[in-house]
Symmetry: C2
Subunit: 256 residues, 2 copies
């Protein structure tokens, strides 16, 4: 059964893209077949995997709005070790999808349908934009797990409430099999606020909190600048190991 | 003449809210009359100024969608030194405004009209969400300056292109008087990628680049956690001084 993971948080800059592309690349490096889908008009996952879409190439927009099949849009990355990874890229045009899809019957289940139409991959990894709109709704309806990266700082906790409410509505109306994981990211052990917020996450999300914490590691920024996932750029770095532990944890969850 | 500043960037987590609330509080501390408007459904500017809206309080949603006057929604902050600052709060309900306003005639000029209906403030400071939708469009149409905080990392430069295109369309069709400033934020002097991206910003935006760079400073996170702007929480910190220089630079721009 295909495991579909949505990486989502409407707070900006909390390492959604970094987490999505790193998990996707580590699963692929282990030989799993992975379909990564960039659902953010900014196209950071596309850039971070070293893919440069040419004008005229199909993107996830063409799948969602013009009903093109996913296999017409996915591409390989330039990395030999990730030969079992396909990426459906995004570009700025995707910003229009929020408006163009909204209000159509079943607008929140289009991505799910498209994923079910292709030969099953072992994994599908979705990188969501920093908002709770149509693209994120499609991701939550299509997934069996939503992974929420949370930066341990003050604004984070209050922001989680609206995402959790949306997850509940999706579980109730569309997708009862949707599980939730919370992943502390950009963690700075020397910072008292970080430690305090992590403590609060542990008490509020005792069941859903990942056993992994991702520390701040500048190697991740360097890897992104090279268009290479950390698992290829610096496999022995702390960040690569921590994301490796996260990948193992996700694989151990059984279905979803 | 009222100077209206929109703080905008669709990239998440680049210090839009931190910049908007800090500039608004420093102008108010200097005795200027300031109207701060939180345009992000996450309501981080509202939290960061120590305001806790009660259920039933009006927010910017009520102004934009239900045509309520701004003065029915603005509140004071709990900080005595900021007595000349009024804040129009935001809450999750604002997420609906993106959809509810889109497509109405003149949907992008509603905020501008509302600002022109009130007794003029010296300054209006708008904190935009991490997206280029209806709320950001309203901010760009209503402003005479858009201040773009940019974190010096790889994804930033490519993301600026779509914001700059939107600014150009707004300048052409709605608001020829809109000026652009680019502010390097979350700057880490020890990081080679940061230095490289700053160099690129200097060459691409030689005219629009601020003379100020905001360094990473954990005091800003502590201030936010206390619901106090850095200018009150730690006025002698490096971040407070750097934002003070930015505020002086904005005041020196003459009109807008
Ligand atoms: N553990 C980490 N240590 C250091 N830098 C990190 C870490 N995780 C992510 N980053 C960097 O932080 C920035 C934000 O990360 P990223 O773009 O993945 O966040 P995001 O949640 O996808 O942002 P957006 O909301 O804009 O989509 C990037 O420059 C990234 O390289
Ligand atoms: N110069 C700085 N040094 C250290 N931390 C900072 C700095 N500027 C902002 N921060 C912190 O970084 C985080 C992101 O900042 P902020 O929320 O202002 O960004 P944003 O662009 O408004 O995010 P969003 O896209 O979600 O609206 C916050 O925790 C904030 O306290
Ligand atoms: Mg992202
Ligand atoms: Mg913000």
């Amino acid at each position: 059964v295909t495991r579909v993971i949505a990486v989502s948080n409407q707070k900006g800059g909390v390492a959604k893209t970094t987490t999505a592309l790193t998990v996707a690349s580590q699963l692929a490096k282990l030989g799993q077949s992975v379909l990564a889908i960039d659902l953010d008009p900014q196209g950071n996952m596309t850039l971070g995997l070293g893919v440069t879409p040419k004008p005229g190439d199909l993107t996830i927009y063409d799948t969602l709005v013009d009903d093109r099949p996913l296999e017409a849009a996915w591409v390989s990355t330039p990395h030999e070790k990730l030969s079992t990874l396909k990426l459906v890229p995004a570009n700025r045009k995707l910003a229009r999808a929020e408006r163009e899809l909204y209000g159509q019957v079943g607008f929140d289940a289009i991505l799910k349908e498209k994923i079910e139409e292709v030969e099953p991959f072992d994994w599908v990894v979705l990188d969501c934009p920093p908002s709770l709109g149509v693209l994120t709704m499609n991701a939550l309806v299509a997934s069996n797990r939503v992974l929420v990266p949370v930066q341990c700082e003050f604004f984070s906790i209050s922001g989680l409430a609206s995402l959790l409410d949306l997850v509940k509505v999706v579980q109730k109306r569309r997708n009862p099999g949707l599980s939730l994981s919370v992943l502390p990211t950009l963690y700075d052990r020397r910072n008292g606020i970080c430690r305090g917020v992590l403590k609060e996450l542990k008490s509020r999300f005792s069941k859903q909190l990942s056993g992994v914490v991702i520390d701040v590691d500048t190697r991740l920024r360097e890897a992104a600048a090279k268009g290479r996932p950390i698992s290829l750029f610096a496999p022995r770095s702390r960040a690569s190991k921590q994301y490796g532990n996260l990948t193992k944890e996700l694989m151990s969850h059984g279905e979803g």
